[in-house]
């Protein structure tokens, strides 16, 4: 390492030590940049793929008010994708390149979106549990070391919190409805509980990237810490709602001051991560079709803009 480089590294380490933000023009180690691109892109892709499971219910929403709420929510997800791609672009990768990496499978998105949405209650459950788990993951990221990411996360967390509350409110309203609606809510919670727990990633002793990401201040808590926090937060919410979680081992542990709970099916998790989840192929095929169907439009916009510039210049 040259003297200059070690000085740069020293400055970088000092910024992290003071919990200050790294900004796009600051020097950063290549590994830090790559890890951030991977994480922010994965997050952006999750927002975009995440439009599908709920977006599929917009045309079937059972009241006009719920239709408006859902349409606005899915639109917010597109907006989150947009700012996260922009944050990623500050690290020198274009949105087109990132889209290509999503479509070719070189970059991932959250596995939760490879589960199907099978009833309108799923719209509420996704808001409550999936957005709830996302919030547990994301709130600490508001303090992440990379400035543009942290600032994007502050805005995203506010909107996610709002979505979570809307989801909870939908379920609460359905629980005050008919027996069929209550059964629909419970069935949906039964299906989404374990996948929601898997959203925090593999157990800490099997999570290879956690230690480095924590040292760089990109990640602030371990997977298991966040999972525990989510369980502890969700249990009283389920009681308020009048639903149960499908886990016979779930109970309060006085000694630990936390809930004990069962183990997610990590074989299923790996199956979904590797591309064999219920909807992996469908989600990517949908995204690819939209991208390919829009190619002629993007080309037209580029050609039109180039022509306008030439005419202005002439």
């Amino acid at each position: 390492m040259t003297a200059t480089e070690s000085e740069l590294q020293g400055g970088f380490d000092q910024t992290l030590a003071h919990n200050d933000r790294i900004e796009p023009r600051d020097w950063m180690p290549e590994g830090y940049r790559k890890t951030l691109v991977r994480q922010i892109a994965q997050h952006a892709h999750s927002e975009i793929i995440g439009m599908q499971p709920e977006g599929g219910w917009i045309t079937r929403a059972p009241s006009l008010r719920r239709k408006a709420i859902l349409l606005a929510k899915v639109q917010d997800e597109a907006g989150h994708g947009l700012y996260l791609y922009s944050a990623c672009e500050t690290l020198g990768v274009s949105r087109a390149e990132l889209t290509e990496m999503l479509l070719s499978g070189r970059q991932k998105y959250s596995s939760i979106f490879n589960y199907p949405t099978l009833s309108y209650a799923d719209v509420g459950t996704i808001g409550w549990l999936v957005d709830g788990a996302a919030i547990c993951n994301q709130v600490p990221l508001c303090r992440t070391s990379f400035g543009p990411y942290g600032r994007a996360m502050i805005r995203i967390c506010k909107e996610e919190s709002f979505h979570q509350r809307q989801g909870f409110e939908l379920l609460m309203t359905m629980m005050r409805g008919t027996d069929a609606q209550r059964a629909m809510v419970q069935e949906s919670v039964d299906r989404f509980w374990w996948p929601a727990l898997m959203m925090f990633g593999p157990p800490d002793d099997e999570s290879p990237n956690t230690a480095q990401s924590m040292a760089w201040g990109i990640k602030r808590n371990t997977n298991d810490e966040l999972r525990q926090r989510f369980v502890d937060m969700s249990v009283p919410q389920a009681e308020a709602l009048g639903v149960t979680f499908p886990d016979p081992e779930l109970r309060w542990n006085d000694e630990r001051g936390a809930h004990d709970f069962g183990t997610p099916d990590w074989d299923e998790f790996m199956q979904v991560v590797k591309g064999d989840g219920p909807c992996n192929r469908q989600r990517i095929a949908h995204r690819r079709r939209a991208h390919e169907d829009g190619a002629w439009v993007r080309e037209a916009a580029t050609a039109f803009a180039a022509r306008s510039t030439t005419e202005v210049g002439a």
Binding site: T59, R66, D293
Partner: protein
């Protein structure tokens, strides 16, 4: 009564700042879309006639909103996904107010549901009517095609609706006047969005021009129907409550001529699509696509006629 805010307040302890609960837009399950607007009937106006008129404008917005919302997660770029969702949301908002106004002006217009059903009137009208009871012009229900198709449809539909709403803002009915005043701002944006894309596609590449012209050829035959006045529109137009669409046709033509001229596109020669013995969308005569659209839109609501959402 459940106070949803307090459910979370109790869970999070005293410091809720990092969760952002309670910030931004509020949710309220029992919001009345017409709250705070004077909804008495204007003098000399028949409630049933006003309700029929509100359904026409409301159904136009509801059905077009449905078609545009089908674009969600399918647009050529994220910016357009967001823009199309905005247009669909604006139209949905207009539809809700107009359907609620229809039911308030003539409670008999909403389909009857089991006694004690909590379904509000706007939803009874949206989800429990048959295709033949919908009063939208057929251009709104046409199945989607490519991006050029949605651009052409939004250009034609928003140009016509904007001209109507500009006049309707002076309606003697306070609700219609308020809906129109808000709608004018929204529709101006919709027309602008579609107009800019119309020009871009017309002058972009050979392919985009070919697709734009094909879409125009497909949608244009349904343009004239938006100006074919139904007797209710004529009568309420004379009463200063509604707008007779024949009176705005020339003005809308001028707007479109300008877009066509800038884009280097000829006004299509295509003849209007026939009705059946003079019956068009406003009379409840629709295309084959309409009942399929409704089958999807209404499936969950109809399975739970006593459901709460």
């Amino acid at each position: 009564m459940t106070d949803h805010d307090s459910v979370y307040d109790g869970l999070l302890g005293s410091d809720t700042s990092h969760w952002a609960f309670g910030q931004g837009r509020e949710t309220s399950p029992s919001e009345d879309p017409l709250a705070g607007v004077d909804s008495t009937l204007p003098e000399g106006v028949d409630g049933a006639e006003l309700a029929a008129y509100c359904l026409m404008l409301g159904d136009d917005a509801l059905v077009l909103s449905h078609r545009i919302s089908e674009w969600c997660s399918r647009a050529p770029d994220l910016e357009d996904d967001i823009a199309l969702a905005n247009i669909a949301l604006d139209l949905l908002g207009q539809a809700r107010l107009l359907l609620a106004r229809a039911a308030a002006a003539d409670p008999g217009i909403a389909p009857s549901l089991p006694a004690g059903s909590p379904v509000p009137p706007e939803d009874a009208l949206a989800f429990f009517r048959e295709a033949g009871e919908f009063r939208n012009a057929r251009i709104m229900e046409l199945p989607n095609g490519d991006f050029a198709h949605v651009v052409v449809r939004v250009l034609l539909a928003s140009s016509a609706r904007l001209a109507i709403m500009e006049r309707l803002a002076a309606s003697r009915d306070h609700v219609l006047a308020a809906v129109a005043a808000k709608g004018v701002k929204e529709l101006t944006y919709h027309r602008d969005y579609a107009g800019r894309w119309f020009l871009t596609l017309a002058q972009g590449t050979d392919e985009s021009r070919r697709r734009l012209l094909a879409a125009l050829d497909l949608v244009w035959p349904l343009y004239a129907e938006m100006f074919a006045a139904h007797p209710v529109e004529v009568s309420l137009g004379e009463a200063g409550v509604g707008v007779d669409p024949t009176t705005v046709a020339d003005e809308v033509d001028v707007v479109l001529e300008q877009v066509f001229a800038m884009s280097g596109v000829e006004r299509p020669e295509r003849q209007p699509l026939a009705g059946v013995r003079g019956r068009l969308g406003r009379h409840g005569l629709h295309t084959e696509a309409m009942s399929l659209l409704l089958a999807q839109m209404q499936v969950v609501a109809r399975a739970h006629p006593e459901g709460r959402w």
